[in-house]
Symmetry: C2
Subunit: 230 residues, 2 copies
Amino acid sequence: MAITLYELVGRDASRPFSPHCWKVRLALRHKGLDFQSATAGFTEIPALENGASKIVPILKDGETLVADSFAIADYLETAYPDRPSLFGGEGGRALSRFVESWSQRTLHPALARLLVLDIHDCLAESDQAYFRQSREKALGTSLEAFVADREARVEPFLKSLEPLRALLARQAFLGGENPLFADHIVFGAFQWARVSSSFRFLPAEDPVAAWFERCLQLYEGEGAKVPAAA
Amino acid sequence: MAITLYELVGRDASRPFSPHCWKVRLALRHKGLDFQSATAGFTEIPALENGASKIVPILKDGETLVADSFAIADYLETAYPDRPSLFGGEGGRALSRFVESWSQRTLHPALARLLVLDIHDCLAESDQAYFRQSREKALGTSLEAFVADREARVEPFLKSLEPLRALLARQAFLGGENPLFADHIVFGAFQWARVSSSFRFLPAEDPVAAWFERCLQLYEGEGAKVPAAA
């Protein structure tokens, strides 16, 4: 059966940038599954698969449609149990939810304060108005004002990575010696930044940068195939 | 074989308060293993078991000695594979290290700023001088100064719990429907606070408080047996 992954893109359809879509892209590669990518801009998502979902990623596997990155990982783990595991057992599945929660509540809000204007700028013109209006309403300020002091926000962001950094002093991946979906989750956040923005905030000597580089090289360099924003 | 758990106490030997010792206490109960507790004050630790370790917890299982809470959990998981699992598989073991890292780097430093003087005050007199000297040297200030603005530190601490709080909106325990060692890890931090200090900082309506209460009732109320500091 053919697998299709619907991914979010901006002006350049060869540069998917959604953190959640990247999680699934790596998860599919981790499982060794072939898939084709189908891309959509923000305002095209509601029409995908007859309105199946308001969000991407959407995975279509034969007749099965699944939306939401963790739900897709759950689906893949169940549907392809003989492929390499994304969770390493039930405990790993439950604790991957904590990693997701940490990533969503710690990394994503902090990265948004660095990136949101750059994300806007890489969108297709037809998506920019929607993005600006919806985000400015949610943020209560202009995109420009929201990122105005981003240089000053780098240091507290780097400090917030300390739980990850300390872990990586002990093991190569969140999953231990080898990556699991928990790595894909956190990778997605940093790949979002790398693809959508030329703002570089992670010092090369940071163990988190070394881990991210390892993740970029996984699965025949799946993450590295899309060059960093220039 | 008889199991002995060496635990840290203050003046009152019936009130173990070390977060790391509590992790192991719950882990032993989770495994359904009988054990006896042996207690020591800070300055008595180096003499335990002929200087086997500078830290507690120390577990003695027959002729085997293991120190460090995670090493003990690893040992118990390997030595008692037929008992309920502490990790739920290899993925859970690896990701429990992330939970430990988050707890150590986020919760512990913040709790120390709320509690360190209260911890001092509950120690035996023979330990107080050691504790004050070593901690004040490490902190670069007096214990009193370190906690002076603790009321103002509660709000940022509660905010730092957001990854845990968001997770608990989805599942009853870090381990999912049932607790794992990851729960014991985070429980240890809050039990440290509950036993050593009467300073209450967690609003009753916080989902984290509800989870902590569930943990206190686990294993026939093992955590609740020691009353909260008055």
